[in-house]
């Protein structure tokens, strides 16, 4: 515990400027949003969201190697096959994401893809993504988005990306002392409802984490946000509260989601929630349009609202550092 203080500028996990008492540092959040178009990034450290200029961050903090450090990249919502005005060339932007990954000064050990790999669940769309991501030379862990399970309840997805998974495609694995849990919340959705995990998956999750020490850092990744971002647009998961109740004993839980095609952060106790950029097209901020569909921005601005997420774990730190960077 005492040691943690050496690394962690704010070990209590207290949020500064939290005027609404909801765990969101609005000042920091707005700063990140404002910079999102100019290659800026947001970092969550010790439960506090911080913004750093890309260059100075990459130059200093990122290079401080620590034993047990783990670096991985999250990409999301590549929507291969989409060809509407919001992005007529999703192949080019996915390739730009790969270039971005390959240019990272700290090479990630593996990638997470948080779903909507394809736009219409077509084999050739999955083939295209596989072909493009091959250039990263990294192992990739996938969870499905609703676009990946359109006509077969996810059979093709599991055959391609989750062969050894349980149930409808959920699984867990360990890397460098961090426990990763891939969840599926895009199937068996009920009329009027949100994303759903279902009782079979919840039981599995409870059992999966039972034997773990509370000091084990946990990373949960799933397509639809596991926190209620905007229920009017379906941006949330019905039974996520129950899932998170099984993770209460852990000191550090990082939840990584996609689906909403924009970056968002929230810290709640020991849980850090984060949503990633899409590599295909942006979607409007909650409630800022008639619906949550693809948003057209001027062509020269498109790559500033698409991107990747770099995640770093340093042993001794309270929370993982989550860094968004745009493709611009």
């Amino acid at each position: 515990m005492a040691k943690r203080n050496l690394f962690d500028p704010n070990p209590s996990g207290v949020i500064e400027h939290d005027h609404n008492n909801d765990g969101i540092d609005r000042r920091g959040f707005l700063k990140c949003m404002a910079w999102a178009g100019t290659g800026a990034l947001c970092v969550i450290q010790g439960g506090v969201l911080k913004s750093h200029a890309l260059a100075s961050h990459m130059g200093s903090q990122m290079k401080s190697h620590k034993l047990g450090e783990l670096s991985f990249v999250q990409i999301s919502d590549s929507h291969m096959g989409f060809n509407k005005p919001a992005n007529p060339d999703v192949i080019a932007t996915l390739k730009a994401a790969v270039d971005k990954i390959n240019a990272l000064p700290e090479q990630p050990e593996f990638l997470l893809h948080t779903g909507d790999i394809s736009h219409l669940s077509k084999p050739e769309e999955f083939d295209n993504v596989d072909q493009i991501l091959k250039a990263t030379n990294k192992q990739i862990f996938f969870v499905p988005g609703e676009h990946d399970v359109l006509n077969d309840d996810g059979a093709m997805f599991r055959e391609r990306y989750a062969k050894n998974s349980k149930g409808q495609g959920w699984y867990s694995f360990d890397k460098n002392g961090v426990h990763f849990i891939g969840l599926v919340n895009v199937m068996n959705l009920k009329a009027g409802g949100l994303g759903t995990l279902g009782s079979e998956q919840l039981e599995w999750l409870e059992d999966d984490v039972k034997h773990l020490k509370s000091s084990t850092p946990i990373v949960v990744f799933a397509h639809i946000p596991l926190w209620t971002v905007y229920p009017q647009w379906g941006w949330g998961t019905e039974d996520s509260t129950q899932a998170l109740s099984y993770l209460k004993k852990f000191g550090s839980v990082t939840v990584l989601n996609g689906h909403i095609h924009q970056t968002m952060q929230k810290v709640e106790g020991n849980v850090t929630f984060h949503t990633a950029f899409s590599t295909a097209f942006p979607q409007p901020a909650p409630g800022k349009a008639e619906g949550p569909g693809p948003m057209k921005v001027p062509a020269e601005q498109l790559r500033s609202v698409l991107g990747i997420t770099d995640v770093n774990y340093v042993q001794g730190r309270h929370a993982l550092a989550v860094v968004d960077s745009s493709l611009a």
Partner: protein
Amino acid sequence: MRRKLFFGGLVVALPLALAAVILHPTRAKSDDTKASPAEVRVDNFSFGPDTLTVPANSTVTWVNKDDVPHVIASNDGLFKSKALDTDDKYSYTFAKAGTYSYYCSIHPKMVGKVVVQ
């Protein structure tokens, strides 16, 4: 309150108009005239009309005018379309009188009704 926000286009129309000038949602540029009585337009993540009343033995056709796919599924499993891409259509014939609730099985906040008389 929240439901109203979701269904009431007017409630969100004002913030939309005030939204940043450079950012605007993609709108389907459709030259279609008004939907025929037995047609439901799927547009901007909603069904239009969200309640459609037809006589028995009517065939109802859903047409997707969005940039993303939707799936038409009855709540009780009576009918379900394949994924409908932009401009794809799906039809179902309602033989008996009754109220048939349906939704989009991948965007379950989208709900609608067909009332067969």
